[in-house]
């Protein structure tokens, strides 16, 4: 499903963010990526959806070898991927409904199907009643839920999230986690970078710990393992 072998990433400014990464994530897994700030978690995540390219090494996601992917085909590749961003990345001029619908319009779905499916996922994230609002009229947690709704609307095989609970209070964080868990229970692979110790230690799943660009721990049913 997701495979990295001998991956190194050095940014143009000379910072080496990742160093010799080898990892294999199977279909249907739920994976936490943890580690101190600046360890390379976001870089690891960005490589998966081809926001960044590795300096050396190969990455395969959903059977696509990313180094062979041309720029013009990147959007097509991303359609099989749901990405949840820490800063939500919602289109500011579109309503909640339109933001989620956009991901379906892109794949030229029928408007009737779009309407039905978008309302379905908005219901799942508990925002059906706010479908006509603009992102600026929502709280951070609500915007994050819109971002999640958009990431799953096309039923992707993989959902990738970078600190989806980063800006949220514990209660809202758990709401988000329940949604991600529900998605995972339907067979979707979920990879999320997080600093949330409470979540990692209570909802036990595979944990990959990164420090200074290297994988230092990889455990099934792992612990967060860092003091706050």
């Amino acid at each position: 499903m997701i495979e990295m072998s001998q991956v190194n990433k050095t940014y143009p400014n000379g910072v080496t963010a990742l160093n010799g990464i080898n990892i294999k994530i199977d279909k249907g897994e739920f994976v936490y990526v943890v580690g101190p700030s600046g360890a390379g978690k976001s870089t690891f995540i960005k490589l998966m959806y081809r926001e960044e390219k590795p300096t050396t090494g190969t990455i395969t996601v959903n059977g696509v070898q990313l180094s062979k992917l041309r720029n013009t085909r990147v959007p097509l590749f991303r359609r099989n991927l749901g990405v949840v961003f820490q800063d939500y990345k919602l289109l500011p001029t579109l309503t909640v409904f339109e933001n989620v619908a956009y991901a379906m319009e892109v794949v030229e779905e029928h408007p009737k199907d779009i309407k039905k499916r978008v309302m379905e996922v908005l219901d799942l994230v508990g925002l059906k009643h706010k479908a006509r609002m603009l992102p600026t009229e929502l709280s951070g947690g609500e915007q994050q839920r819109v971002s999640i709704a958009r990431s799953i609307v096309n039923s992707p095989q993989v959902v990738i999230a970078d600190e989806p609970t980063g800006n949220l209070d514990p209660e809202t964080s758990w709401e988000i986690m329940n949604i991600l868990e529900a998605i995972n229970n339907r067979g979707t692979t979920v990879v999320m970078a997080t600093h949330n110790r409470d979540i990692v230690n209570n909802l036990k799943r595979r944990v990959i710990a990164i420090e200074s660009g290297r994988i230092v721990r990889d455990e099934q049913q792992g612990e967060y393992g860092y003091e706050l």
Binding site: P75, R78, V83, T93, V106, E108
Partner: protein, 297 residues
Amino acid sequence: MSFRTIKRHFRESGKSLTRNGWMTFASISAVTVTLLLVGVFFVIMMNLNHIADNIQKDVEIRVHLDPSADAANKELIGQKINQITAVDSAKFSPKEKELTNLIKDMGSDGKTFKLFEQDNPLSDVYVVKTKKPTDVIKTAKTIEKYQYVQSVKYGQGYVEKMFNVVEVARNIGIVLIIALLFTAMFLISNTIKITIVARRREIEIMRLVGATNSFIRWPFFLEGAWLGILGAIVPIAVIAGVYSYIYDTVGKNIQIKFVELLQVNPFIIQISIILVLLGALIGVWGSVMSVRKFLKV
């Protein structure tokens, strides 16, 4: 691209106009200013061309032949004139016809000239037209030197002055065109710069959720076209109004032979079509430029 998606792009481009509020207004204003200038310039240029055309049609060289020339001489002169490359046509007009024309032109006073019918003092004439009005003077000077040519008349002085006026006006037109292009480019690139900042993030997000370049581009294209077409409304209204007014009042008071403005009816429609197309073109160009930067290929 499916028909459904085309419909979607149209709908989206329309919505985008209202969503972007003052940005839409700023873009339309830029197009409006540009088209107003372009429109005024077009009106001037096309009228100038019209006047030049009139001159071309009306300016002719009248070659008066010497009374001593016999039929063969006259024939020969006709052949020689026709051989000049700049000459379009040369029509022979015998003195009898010249007199009839004169009597007709003079109206009631013409009767007095009837006396001359017995002993016609006029000469036979070749009426020569050149292909280009600017060749009149040179051609006239050439013909003047032929044997049995008594004199050559082409409105000396008057024609030269007219050509000067047209020449100067054309030069002013060229200067105007350049100034205009710079103004247009400045205004549009400025508006684009503002739009770019607002659009950069949007386009990034669109790509992140799987939109291909063409999917992103189309609504922007259409939006640009709308902006241009909307921007053409005010210039068309202003130019139509002002031009009709000038045509009705000022145009009628100027009675110089060649200075005749183009008729309001087909002209304003032509100008309107040109301005709408130009507006759409400017708008689409602006959108293409502002979006292109953010679509990595």
